[in-house]
């Protein structure tokens, strides 16, 4: 996709947004992406997709960072790179100063729950401990503790097919937390569950995360969810996937102790992010909404 088309207000590095912070690579941070390029060639097609173009990002310890953007802007790809599941074409990815390798140091909550269907809840959570040095009894004990922690104690012996979407999501969360990882990677974990359950799960996640503050990278395409959960919001754009700007949220925690949605900062951020995403989607020739007036959508929740 060529970038010869001038797009208003897309270049976040020159336009001052509310509370911007540097997006570039800061050495010494827990997670550092430096000029990362990643493209994919899908099977059966000679054309390759540029999933990430020149992405640089630093995340300090203990930060909760939301990756926000419409689909196709490389959010999942960043998580997979940080987990060491895939390698960048060029540029570097460092986690704790080293090239990342999959393992118990990072917990991954996938977009589709990815539970093992022939294993019960306890077994699914214990599976995350497969590559640890814990003994069998310790694994079971630990798994049981995290199953209880997400409120599924009574369902420890149930199979995934017997659980609701929200419960499956809890299992996936328990599995990611069970290794007590330094890094928590979450890919739209609440996108496929209903609104009420989602709100409860967001509170639940905050509770669990504050108990043991790891670095959290949370992918979402919901503006509200990003503001609700994150210290920093990384706003991304599609075709090619890239970082537009990084915004400090600057809202006090815990955010459930006051009416967040009435807070002037919340309103300011929400309007700003909506504006940006609306421009993005409307000016992206690959989007369904290309060239349409989406003025009505800014008050109604979702970007795609």
């Amino acid at each position: 996709m060529s970038m010869d088309r001038p797009i208003d207000g897309i270049d976040g590095r020159t336009e001052p947004g509310p509370g911007r912070s540097p997006a570039g690579a800061v050495p010494g941070a827990r997670i550092v992406l430096d000029n990362v390029v990643k493209s994919f060639t899908s099977a059966g097609s000679a054309k390759s997709v540029l999933a990430l173009k020149d992405v640089s990002l630093s995340i300090e310890d203990g930060a909760f960072v939301a990756l926000l953007g419409p689909s196709g802007c490389g959010k999942t790809t960043i998580l997979r790179l940080v987990n060491g599941l895939i390698l960048p074409d060029s540029g570097t990815v460092r986690v704790s100063g080293k090239a990342p390798a999959p393992g118990p140091n990072a917990g991954f909550v996938f977009q589709s729950f990815r539970l093992i269907p022939w294993t019960n809840v306890l077994g699914n959570v214990a599976f995350a401990l497969s590559a640890t040095r814990l003994s069998g009894a310790e694994k079971t004990e630990r798994a049981r503790r995290y199953v209880e922690l997400v409120g599924l104690g009574r369902f420890a012996e149930a199979y995934p097919s017997e659980l609701s979407g929200g419960m499956k999501q809890r299992v996936a969360l328990a599995r990611a937390l069970a290794t007590e990882p330094d890094i928590l990677l979450m890919d739209e974990p609440f996108a496929s569950i209903d609104a009420q359950t989602r709100e409860l799960m967001q509170i639940e996640l905050m509770r669990l995360w504050t108990m043991r503050r790891s670095v959290a990278l949370f992918v979402t395409h919901s503006v509200d969810e990003a503001i609700l959960l994150a210290d920093k919001i990384v706003l991304m754009g599609p075709r090619p996937g890239r970082i537009l700007e990084v915004i400090d949220v600057g809202l006090e925690r815990p955010r459930w102790s006051y009416d967040l949605r009435a807070h002037p900062r919340y309103i300011e951020l929400r309007n700003y992010l909506w504006e940006r995403i609306r421009d993005l989607v409307m000016n992206d020739p690959g989007s369904d909404f290309y060239g349409r007036d989406l003025g009505v959508m800014s008050s109604s929740g979702r970007s795609d």
Binding site: N83, A106, F108, F110
Partner: protein, 246 residues
Amino acid sequence: MIALYRLAFLGLLIFLWWVASINVGRNLVPSPLATFQAAQVMIGEGRLATALWDSLSIYLSGYAMAIVVAIPIGVAMGAFRVLGKTVELYLYGLAATPRVAFIPLVIVLLGLGFEAKVFIVFLGAIMPILINTYAGVLDADEELIEMARSVGLRRTRIFVQIVLPSAVPFVIVGLRLGATIGLINTVVAELYTAVRGLGGLLAIYGNTFRMAEYFVVVLTLAAIGIVVTEALRYLETRLGRWRKAA
């Protein structure tokens, strides 16, 4: 409840059989009663037991051999993609060739006895088991595999803990198909080689128009088929407890 329906259906079948036996003529379709009496005589003389034992030993030996050979090859083909891609074409070709075509060759190589018969059963049962095992290994969920990688598991353990278990339902389908074809080939082998066992009885009674005895043999074969497929179905539900009860 379903057991009751099945019994009622059996009653209906026997009734239809009885109607047929009256209308078609006793020489072609024996009455249920005549068949029952013939069965009593055959069981009393021990003729049925001998034939059953003959056939079962051939059937089960050939089937067991097919399982032992097919599953490892299918797994290996799925595990090593190059091997699978290289061999699969020939395998599908072989699977499409009627196995009866090999019988003269088998007789030349192994004679007319037990070994030849077992080998004919083996030839019939091996293909569906092998092909389904291979398909099952290839069908493993890429997303689950990535999840296992993310947890830090290496290739071998992912294969054992994710890929193989997800192939089990396919393998069982293969086992079921293999069991059916194996039974068919048992009878075929007994007809084409030394005439013995249940297939042998079929030939004898068929050629002499002793239809009541002939029916007893047919029903015995059907019973074997039911027992084997039900056993496999039991295995399937035991292994598939994690599926939501329908």
